[in-house]
């Protein structure tokens, strides 16, 4: 009855430098609305949605870049939801998204790498295989 993790997540994803300079801005008012759609969230200071927008930009850069890596590893030209899912599952920082991406298909295994964690029908990260 081995309780050890089926996969070891790599160290938390550091932003790949140099950072791309993004000219397009997120709508700050919309971000504030999204924040306050949660009833628990009360007032926010003026700078706060700006700060969250910046964090979101960095998050997007990180997730998009990792998704691209996953696509490249499989010689794909189109980055698919499966690649994004794999990016999430292989990055500790993105653990909170595991449930969100659960509905997307798993990516194909990449030869020469560690076996894909939890791929294959009916096997999720949290389920244990009972012998």
């Amino acid at each position: 009855m081995d309780e050890s993790d089926e996969y070891v997540p790599p160290t938390s994803n550091q932003l790949q430098q140099p950072l791309p300079i993004i000219k397009t801005r997120f709508p700050v008012a919309r971000i504030k609305k999204i924040m306050q759609a949660d009833d628990d969230i009360g007032k926010v200071a003026q700078a706060t949605p700006l700060v969250v927008a910046k964090a979101l930009e960095l998050f997007m850069i990180s997730l998009v870049q990792e998704s691209c890596n996953q696509a490249r590893m499989r010689n794909a030209k189109r980055v698919s939801p499966a690649h994004l899912k794999q990016a999430v599952l292989s990055t500790e920082q993105f653990d909170f998204l595991a449930e969100t991406v659960g509905k997307y298909p798993d990516a194909v295994a990449v030869s020469g790498n560690k076996p894909e964690p939890g791929t294959g029908p009916g096997r999720g990260r949290r389920r244990k295989v009972v012998d």
Binding site: S12, Q14, L15, L19, P20, I22, K23, T24, F26, P27, R30, I31, K33, I34, M35, A37, D38, D40, I41, G42, K43, V44, A45, A47, T48, L50, V51, V52, K54, A55, L56, E57, L58, F59, M60, I61, L63, V64, Q65, S67, C68, A71, R72, K77, R78, V79, S80, P81, H83, L84, K85, V88, E92, Q93, F94, F96, L97, T100, V101, Y104
Partner: protein
């Protein structure tokens, strides 16, 4: 846009066109993001905002503060494992402060002068006249 209607957190999302533009600024020229992937990305972004908001809110409440401030967001990022975001964010905060300061200073000067716009304009003409005559005198002397 139906912004005035009550929106549940399910309806509220990021504009697809904006997200697509940002994605194209990030990805290398030989790759393409499918529409589905972009939509999946948007879902993840909304989750991220929720995560940061909830954590920041908890931190603010822990400090008995009713308003979520930038510092609360920074602590939240630290706690959630996004410490590498903090430095760029501090720059944003600094820029914001300077923009605010600039605005306040402009108002301050005008108010502090205690003069109307016409009076200020007249004063300016006076000073120009003075400067012109000074120039002429100096010009004459060095010739």
């Amino acid at each position: 846009m139906s912004d005035r209607e009550a929106l549940s957190s399910d309806d509220l999302s990021l504009p697809k066109a904006t997200v697509q533009k940002i994605v194209s600024e990030i990805i290398p020229p030989d790759l393409v993001f499918s529409r589905e992937t972009r939509d999946a990305l948007i879902e993840c972004c909304v989750e991220f905002i929720g995560l940061i908001s909830t954590q920041s809110n908890d931190i603010a409440e822990g400090e008995a503060k009713k308003t979520i401030a930038s510092e609360h967001v920074i602590k939240a990022l630290q706690e959630l494992g996004f410490a590498d975001y903090i430095e760029p964010i501090r720059e944003v905060i600094q820029e914001h402060k300077e923009t605010q300061k600039g605005r306040e200073r402009k108002v301050g000067k005008f108010e502090a002068s205690g003069m109307t716009e016409e009076e200020l304009l007249r004063k300016q003409e006076e000073l120009f006249g003075l400067a012109r005559s000074k120039l002429n005198q100096e010009g004459g002397a060095s010739a």
